[in-house]
Symmetry: C2
Subunit: 309 residues, 2 copies
């Protein structure tokens, strides 16, 4: 079998991530058959209408029969139930992976169910948009993005190599780290930003002195940037908060502490402290652009509105 | 004189906003002469090299001689000094405006210096990017964006109409509100988002358990959105914090209160509370897109990275 290719891939869950994998697999011809499973008949019908795979089944257990690669793309809170459902149907030698944003919890939920002889290799592609569902996916989603594998003790090297080759075939760069470290890194680069974004949008929505229509009208002056993250899938993010609690609470405590310091500088008119912070944060933006992880175009390259918008 | 046109426009300050005005005025032929003034010789030389105006002077007083419209585009903390410097040189009947992000403070700093017979009409175009300086400006910056005028008591109606027509000629939509309300609205839609963005980027920069290179590598999972605002001009934002203190402290207090509530929901595993908040924030994003204030393209329409990025 060529690198990154599998005879039969089963996709459990066909939202933004699952459907993007499906599209990329099809585009690049990475599998002979792609079985798609969703517990929602409506979602499954939509996946079929979009022609995302070769077979469509409601039952996850049925989907993984004979599959060489099983990719679980569901909200992390549902990982345990999925593992339990698919376990009796997994083929010896199959690779089971997931795409969840928290890894410690996913391993704790899934690993106990995985039969001997099946390779369970947790993964997390750091890619997404604020949209969700099977219509939101696109084949290029993983291009130039990182996928982090967090193998458990005793993982088969060849299975790991084959999974990494699959993600590379999708355009990803692959990294490896232990699950505890993953959960800390993600708490700061992803979970905290989403929580903060949800929070500030909530704060703005609750004001009595400023109307919601004013917030919307004048949002281009900064606020709108936060509304993108705050439009992400609520179920997914509820589960992330519940399943990476410790790391998130630690980052939240640090953030609040720093904010109190900044608030004090504002209250006491300490311009130097403010200027120092506002200067060093610029360098990080530059590094992110240099690393190819964001565009240097102003305003993220958003289109200029029409003259008579 | 046609609507939106002035014989002689003086631009005091030629950064992102000033230079965008200069470019739009030139493109649309809104003035016979455009005098550009900067207290930095380097910036002034750059403006000349970019051919942004018709005349270039270091002295703000000299710049406003005979000007029909004077636009002050400097960090808000410098407004008072500029007003003092230009006051003796202002022509009777001239319109003086500014583009500052705080209005109460600008009025307090500038109004006492403005001579009788000169029309002082504070303004604030809600437009910008994370870049700064004369090279960062572009003629379309104000297109489809709001410009808020906050006229003081007894403002001449015809002068106000002419200033509004000028902004409309630049592609803006013009609104009017009192300065106290402006400062509250901007505190939530612009100042708080910037402060929060600066703060979270600072928090990430300070971690011991997660390296800076990890933050940069994996930033596309959410964090990078904040780095754009946190790359904004440090002098401008220091001044905003110092000059809209009361409204900002009020919004910060509300934000922190809401965050404590959210943090508690995470600690106690209250999924329902989290889901409720994460659901209602989605609606605001939709309204902003419907109002033409942001793009519906995923990830703000950022380009997909190259396959081998």
């Amino acid at each position: 079998m060529t690198d990154g290719h599998f005879d039969k891939i089963a996709l459990i869950g066909i939202g933004l991530i699952g459907s993007s994998i499906a599209r990329a697999v099809k585009l690049k011809g990475l599998a002979k058959s792609v079985i798609i499973s969703s517990r929602s008949r409506e979602t499954l019908d939509r996946a079929r209408a979009l022609d995302l795979g070769t077979d469509y089944v409601l039952d996850a257990g049925e989907a993984v029969e004979d599959a060489d690669l099983v990719i679980v793309s569901v909200p992390v809170g549902a990982s345990g139930k999925v593992a339990e459902a698919i376990a009796p149907h997994l083929k010896p030698g199959a690779i089971v992976t997931d795409v969840g944003s928290t890894k410690g919890s996913v391993v704790a939920q899934m690993l106990p169910h995985i039969p001997k002889g099946v390779h369970f290799i947790p993964g997390h592609p750091l890619a997404g948009t604020e949209h969700s569902g099977p219509d939101a996916g696109f084949a290029e989603l993983f291009q130039g993005r990182w996928c982090i594998l967090t193998p458990v003790h005793g993982t088969d090297k060849e299975a790991k190599r084959r999974l990494a080759a699959f993600w590379e075939a999708l355009g990803s760069k692959v990294d490896e780290m232990d699950m505890e470290h993953h959960d800390k890194v993600l708490a700061i680069v992803s979970h905290l930003p989403h929580i903060i974004a949800y929070n500030i949008v909530g704060t703005a929505d609750d004001l009595e002195t400023v109307t919601e229509s004013e917030v919307i009208k004048y949002s281009a002056s900064g606020f709108r940037d936060f509304t993108r993250l705050a439009a992400s899938d609520p179920t997914m993010w509820r589960d992330v908060c519940l399943h990476n609690k410790d790391a998130i609470l630690e980052m939240l405590a640090r953030f609040s502490e720093d904010l109190a310091y900044l608030q004090r500088a504002i209250r006491w008119g300490d311009g130097e402290k403010l200027f120092d912070l506002f200067t060093r944060t610029r360098a990080i933006r530059r590094s992110i652009i240099d690393a190819g992880q964001d565009t240097s175009a102003p305003n993220f390259g958003r289109p200029v509105p029409d003259e008579k918008a």
